[in-house]
Subunit: 208 residues, 2 copies
């Protein structure tokens, strides 16, 4: 039932999840699409259309049950499973991301940290020791990971990603400023800070 849904709709789902999370925390039990529309600044019709892609969830005259909708969107986003992550490249950004994941949502668990700099081996981030990249193969044999976070210079990221694919990793959260060319069944989500900042710069310049 979740096939054929546009990527634009899927891209909006985490935002719904975040607002529902806040409503849950605030003790709100149910909400109409009209009320949700006001706080999210999107039309009620868009909300209904987006959620109808997954089968609806709302009841005429009742609205949405916040807890149920939160759980269902979480399930759609794959958050009901635990994802095991490794972080490769523990510079400032990698350190921040590792910290962020370790202290964040329970759906994502950091199982290993790796860096090419031997000087970092054995240092700990939130109790997890940093290992050398040469330890990846042995580590992944015992502790398979779902997601590799790449926070490396672009030159290193390409070789590391190829190696990780050979070792069975199928998803990448890529912070390196390079387009990885990986097999078709491998999922890559790019976070390109440089492009984001340039886009901001454009909008400042053009006033849009």
């Amino acid at each position: 039932m979740e096939k054929g849904i546009s990527q634009a709709v899927i891209r909006r789902m985490p935002r719904y999840y975040r607002y529902l999370d806040e409503l849950l925390e605030a003790g709100v039990e149910r909400i109409s699409s009209g009320e949700l529309s006001k706080i999210m600044h999107v039309t009620a019709s868009q909300i209904r259309q987006d959620l109808n892609n997954f089968g609806g969830f709302g009841q005429q005259g009742y609205g949405y049950n916040v807890s149920y909708l939160h759980e269902e969107i979480g399930r759609i986003l794959g958050l009901s499973m635990e994802h095991r992550l490794i972080v490769v490249g523990v510079g400032n950004l990698g350190h921040a991301i590792a910290n962020y994941i370790i202290n964040g949502d329970n759906s994502f668990k950091t199982v290993g940290l790796f860096d090419a700099d031997p000087g970092k081996t054995g240092q700990k981030v939130c109790g997890i020791p940093i290992m050398g990249v040469e330890a990846l193969e042995d580590f992944l044999r015992d502790e398979p990971a779902d997601i590799a976070v790449l926070s490396l210079p672009k030159e290193e990221a390409v070789a590391v990603a190829d190696n990780l694919v050979a070792l069975g990793v199928r998803s990448f959260w890529n912070f390196a400023h390079v387009d990885l060319e990986l097999p078709g069944d491998v999922v890559v989500e790019n976070v390109n800070l440089s492009e984001s900042l340039m886009y901001l710069s454009y909008r400042m310049t053009e006033g849009v």
Copy 2:
């Protein structure tokens, strides 16, 4: 001439800029849309269409002059001007971003670092001392900033952003997990790591 261009086209410009940067570094002087198409994995027709939005730049039978195109796209993206940034919230992520900007493109200059934690006041990141957030008003009077980077918990980000708008800041690079509601002439570029990771999780689950 740059009005009415779709945001999707603009979003693609930094990627062109990155590839042209690499071509320049590699000493390539000119390139056809066909060759650019092969390395960027987009169609030559898309490249021609995208660039035609800004007046073209290519010459029949010659292709694109790499250096000229690089410079022009940089100009379109506002990179020919210097942007002055402040970073508010110098935790792990703020620290990484500050570092990243300080060591990156010359178009972006970090002029001040601020944190609400008095324990951080006076600590330095790449030679720039961290100040308390209460110092923002005096600081910005003497050293106006174009862009504020927000790497704060969401509860604090809203108040800080409102305060910065009152102090004249008109552009925000927002890493806080909150939708800022600011006046219409203020530009906000959100980087929501949590939403990016959830989107990756969805694609892993659905195999898309």
